[in-house]
């Protein structure tokens, strides 16, 4: 059994027939109720006029970014990234602040709004089926896909495959593999026959979204120490200056008792 160094999915929107078997498979495998699946299919609806009708659909789940924003944002480190790709969430640490939901540019993590304190409300998202890939199986959604719209494997191999499909059918696909560079690269790669924006995918730069935030955070400690030092110096300076001034006026008053009258 050969293990991948960087596990990834490839989704081909052209092959997707919108059967949603992946949603059912995910639900069963991960024991998640259907109304809260970690995977969901969305479509752009019908386009064109009869008889030349067209429609496109897209399977969404966690993109497993190379530079995950959820992981960067989580205050208590409930997220971690395995060296072989999957970004996973630990409910034992989560405080329920939902900052990861804001941070994720794809709107992936979702929260149990219907659970009280006793049930425990947690974040949930795709885990890349780590329990399956660790024993050499494909993720449940991939294993069940009837048209091979979803495939699983080594990220570099899948990228080659994807570019190969574009080259073989340049008239069919948009000439870009979404996820190759977006947000610093993701482990979910997407091929599409319609512009990616129409599938609801945000236009993202190759520079990871989290970088600005992390750079600013890097200033925190030096800035705090610097400001503390400056304030201490200012406080001491002002205090000494005021003391000296007070002493001077006191001296002036005692040596020349008439000054106050002359003023």
């Amino acid at each position: 059994m050969k293990k991948n160094t960087h596990n990834a999915f490839l989704f081909d929107a052209f092959r997707c027939i919108d059967c949603r078997a992946c949603m059912v498979a995910c639900s069963v495998e991960n024991k998640i109720p259907m109304d809260k699946t970690r995977i969901w299919v969305a479509g752009v609806g019908l386009k064109g006029e009869f008889p030349s009708l067209e429609r496109a659909s897209m399977v969404y789940h966690c993109m497993h970014c190379n530079a995950p924003d959820c992981l960067s944002a989580c205050p208590v480190g409930a997220y971690s990234q395995r060296p072989d790709g999957p970004v996973v969430y630990d409910p034992k640490k989560c405080i329920g602040c939902r900052y990861c939901m804001n941070a994720c540019p794809f709107g992936v993590p979702h929260f149990d709004y219907d659970k009280g304190l006793i049930d425990g409300a947690f974040i949930d998202k795709c885990t890349l089926c780590t329990q399956r890939i660790d024993i050499g199986l494909e993720p449940a959604c991939v294993a069940t896909c009837p048209t091979d719209a979803l495939t699983f494997g080594e990220r570099s191999d899948l990228l080659k495959q994807a570019h190969g499909r574009i080259q073989a059918h340049p008239d069919r696909y948009v000439d870009h593999v979404y996820g190759e560079t977006e947000n610093g690269g993701t482990s979910y790669l997407i091929l599409s026959q319609v512009p990616f924006g129409e599938l609801g995918l945000p236009a993202l730069p190759s520079r990871p979204v989290k970088e600005v935030s992390e750079e600013v955070m890097g200033f925190t400690i030096p800035f705090a120490l610097g400001l503390g030092t400056v304030l201490t110096a200012v406080a001491a300076g002002v205090h000494l200056y005021n003391q000296k001034k007070e002493a001077d006026t006191l001296k002036l008053e005692t040596s020349e008792p008439q000054t106050e009258e002359t003023i």
Partner: protein, 393 residues
């Protein structure tokens, strides 16, 4: 209306107190429902809107309006401008209660309120929210220490009061550092959503803008709280001091405007000023109400020197700047449009706060006002007034 609570011979409460207590009661019941049945049971928060009214009002507004405490502590203790001493205690009290309200509100908003202390043991050093959590917790402790002498004086434990007073300087400096950090970091919270926050607001210098506007909010809050408490507690108003604070505001606001518009020009985002529809309107409203009008108002000597003028200027500025906090943390955060079909858990993409959601915040705010009233009644919060007058005369 005078705030007056007499527990003897019979429980006699003024109407304002009755209203505040009822709001607190309602909020308590709603909070219990939320703990039993989940956040969705009382609020309209959803997977599309994980943060909205609670975070904008309780966290962003709550922290901003508490910034008077560190400003006054810095002015009086670090710069030794002793004439402002009468303003220190009320603003430290406002700050302490403000941050208490933030923490209480977070205990309703967090999915796992019983784990709030995890922020002290599990540190993810790249998280802006962690920095804010640590700063707010530590600063709450600093404010408690800064306010402790007032409590001890009230209890006639002069020795303790003097003891703390002698070692106050390190805490004042720590408080100013912590405040500078988290007032600006509230802006940094939004840096991780460059694709979601509208370009009129998203900029890497958000933390700087947040700090500068927090200064103007803090100064205005001191004016507002002095004006209101002088009215309700029938005490003198330190107009000569407030006028000096009001004189600073236009300068700070001018710096804010210059930085904000230079940033928009450099980023090439000026085009959104009039082409963004609702977003442009919100932005222009916040700039106009929060900065431009207050600059004019506080530049006029006659307005600065009248109690009504000061109050007007402070209220206008606060409305505009609070709109800014709401814009940045809620109104201007774009959410993905729903495609033609979505599973149920992704469906609530349109958001308006629910009534219970607003009532929770109102209840917590009422508790803060009531606590302020009680503290002023039983503790020497305004005691230093006479002393301050003496030093200035």
């Amino acid at each position: 209306m005078k705030l007056q609570i007499t527990l003897h011979p019979r429980l006699h409460l003024k109407p304002l107190v009755v209203i505040l207590l009822s709001l607190m009661g309602i909020a308590f019941v709603i909070a219990m429902l939320r703990y039993a049945n989940g956040i969705g049971a009382v609020s309209n928060l959803s997977n599309s809107y994980p943060w909205a009214f609670w975070i904008s009002f309780d966290l962003f507004t709550g922290v901003a309006i508490s910034s008077g405490a560190f400003l006054m502590a810095a002015v009086v203790y670090i710069f030794e401008l002793k004439e402002f001493r009468p303003l220190v205690r009320p603003s430290v009290l406002t700050g302490f209660l403000g941050y208490m309200m933030v923490v209480i509100a977070l205990l309703v908003d967090l999915g796992h309120p019983e784990r709030i202390w995890y922020m002290m043991i599990h540190w993810n050093h790249t998280s802006v929210l962690l920095e804010i959590g640590i700063c707010v917790m530590s600063y709450l402790a600093v404010l408690a220490i800064e306010f402790a002498p007032v409590v001890f004086e009230g209890l006639k434990w002069q020795k303790f009061a003097h003891f703390i007073h002698r070692f106050i300087m390190p805490f004042v400096i720590l408080g100013v550092v912590l405040s500078t950090l988290h007032q600006s970091s509230l802006g940094s919270l939004l840096l991780i959503q460059p694709t979601k926050l509208y370009p009129l607001w998203w900029t890497p210098i958000l933390p700087i803008l947040f700090f500068i506007s927090a200064v103007t909010i803090g100064l205005s809050m001191i004016i507002l709280e002095s004006s209101l408490s002088s009215r309700y507690f029938h005490r003198g108003l330190e107009i000569h001091l407030l006028e000096k604070l009001a004189r600073v505001i236009p300068v700070v606001l001018a710096i804010y405007l210059v930085i904000k518009f230079s940033q928009l020009t450099i980023a090439g985002d000026l085009k959104y000023l009039f082409t963004g529809g609702l977003m442009s309107v919100l932005f222009l409203a916040e700039i106009l109400i929060g900065a431009v009008i207050p600059i004019f108002l506080f530049s006029i000597k006659r307005i600065r020197q009248s109690a009504k003028g000061l109050l007007l200027g402070a209220v206008v500025l606060l409305l505009g700047m609070i709109l800014n906090r709401f814009n940045v943390s809620w109104f201007a955060v774009q959410h993905p449009d729903p495609l033609s079909y979505m599973p149920a858990f992704m469906s609530n993409v349109h958001y308006l706060p629910s009534l219970p959601e607003v009532l929770v915040s109102m209840g917590i705010f009422s508790a803060g006002i009531l606590a302020f009233g009680l503290a002023v009644k039983y503790l020497p919060v305004f005691e230093h007034e006479e002393e301050g007058r003496k030093t200035t005369s």
